[in-house]
């Protein structure tokens, strides 16, 4: 079983990485819709996939936050990615697998996964 004592290790490790992060400036922001509609559609595992993937890749300058209903419940789970310049990409019908790809392509390499966007979904 995990113990609360492990927290001290994590604190030290994270503190070192925070020191490195300061130079990299303002990063992207990932916003997951987590109202009743999002939760029922599976937004929580999507959020968790983002956390796991960002942790795995040692990315620290990205912020993950939650919000309420974004307004298009039928396309949940919805995730908005805000770029450094303030522009926004809306991903719809997300899954943990898609989240991993968004991290790899959009967050790391800056290439939008255009097949997951709301524009692509509305064309169908």
């Amino acid at each position: 079983m995990k113990s609360i004592a492990e927290l001290e290790e994590i604190r030290k490790k994270t503190l070192e990485q925070i020191g490195l992060r300061k130079s990299s400036g303002k990063g992207k922001r990932i916003v997951v819709g987590m109202a009743t509609c999002g939760i029922a559609a599976g937004a929580r595992p999507v959020m968790n996939a983002f956390l796991e993937e960002l942790k795995k890749r040692n990315i620290h300058d990205v912020q993950v936050t939650l919000t309420g209903c974004i307004g298009v419940c039928r396309l949940e789970p919805i995730v908005e990615v805000y770029n450094e310049d303030g522009s926004k990409v809306t991903y719809v019908k997300m899954t943990p697998q898609k989240a991993a790809r968004v991290v790899a392509e959009h967050i790391v390499n800056g290439r939008v996964c255009s097949d997951y966007t709301i524009t692509a979904a509305e064309k169908e």
Binding site: K2, I4, L7, R11, T14, A35, T36, I39, V64, L66
Partner: protein, 198 residues
């Protein structure tokens, strides 16, 4: 909602929308009484009596964007279907208590689900809010407080990915220790559960 932890997250979102900065979450299982209860107590702005009565009506909502509000009605339905009930008490300006009771053995009781993930999601939704989680069976109790964790972390934010993924695992270990063998869906790990032994 597939499981109780998702309902819990949904109810906690209500508390955050009510501007609560302290939220207590209680999960209590008593196998002898065949009773599982989920409890969320917040210090948010509360609801007037009339609003409390309407809260379980799916066609009632206080938001302006849409005419439905399904969170509490779905939880009400699920607890009733599992031989339990939903209780809401609220005082304006003081806070709200939501308690959902289920029969542990009822075939329609949803499983408990990933409580750890619900708490990490709640922390991301309201990082400034303090969460107190109490897990209880007939003989044992575990308490987790994010206020204490924040204190221990010092300048490291509780929202950092390492902390959150660890916290999820830690909370789920606590859930297994308290509810393993007590709730049918959670296996009893060696040394984890003591309700059956005593």
């Amino acid at each position: 909602m597939r499981d109780l932890s998702l309902h819990l997250l949904d109810i906690i979102q209500n508390s955050l929308a009510a501007e609560a900065d302290k939220i207590s979450i209680g999960i209590t299982a008593n196998r002898a009484k065949n009773r599982l209860s989920l409890l969320v107590l917040d210090n948010g702005k509360g609801m007037r009596e009339k609003v409390v009565r309407q809260a379980v009506d799916p066609f009632f909502t206080t938001r302006k964007t849409r005419q439905v509000g399904l969170g509490l009605p779905l939880l009400n339905m699920n607890s009733r279907q599992a031989g339990g009930r939903l209780l809401i008490k609220s005082v304006t300006g003081r806070g709200t208590l939501v308690a959902a009771v289920f029969q542990i053995e009822h075939p329609d009781r949803p499983p408990l689900g990933d409580i750890g993930e619900t708490i990490t999601a709640s922390i991301l939704a309201g990082p400034e809010t303090d969460y107190k989680i109490v897990l209880k069976n007939k003989n044992n109790k575990m308490r987790i407080s994010t206020e204490e964790i924040k204190w221990q972390l010092g300048e490291v934010p509780i929202t950092s990915f390492e902390v959150l993924t660890w916290l999820r695992g830690y909370l789920n270990d606590c859930v297994t220790a308290i509810f393993g063998g007590v709730l049918n869906e959670i296996d009893c790990r060696a040394g984890g559960n003591t309700e059956e032994n005593t």
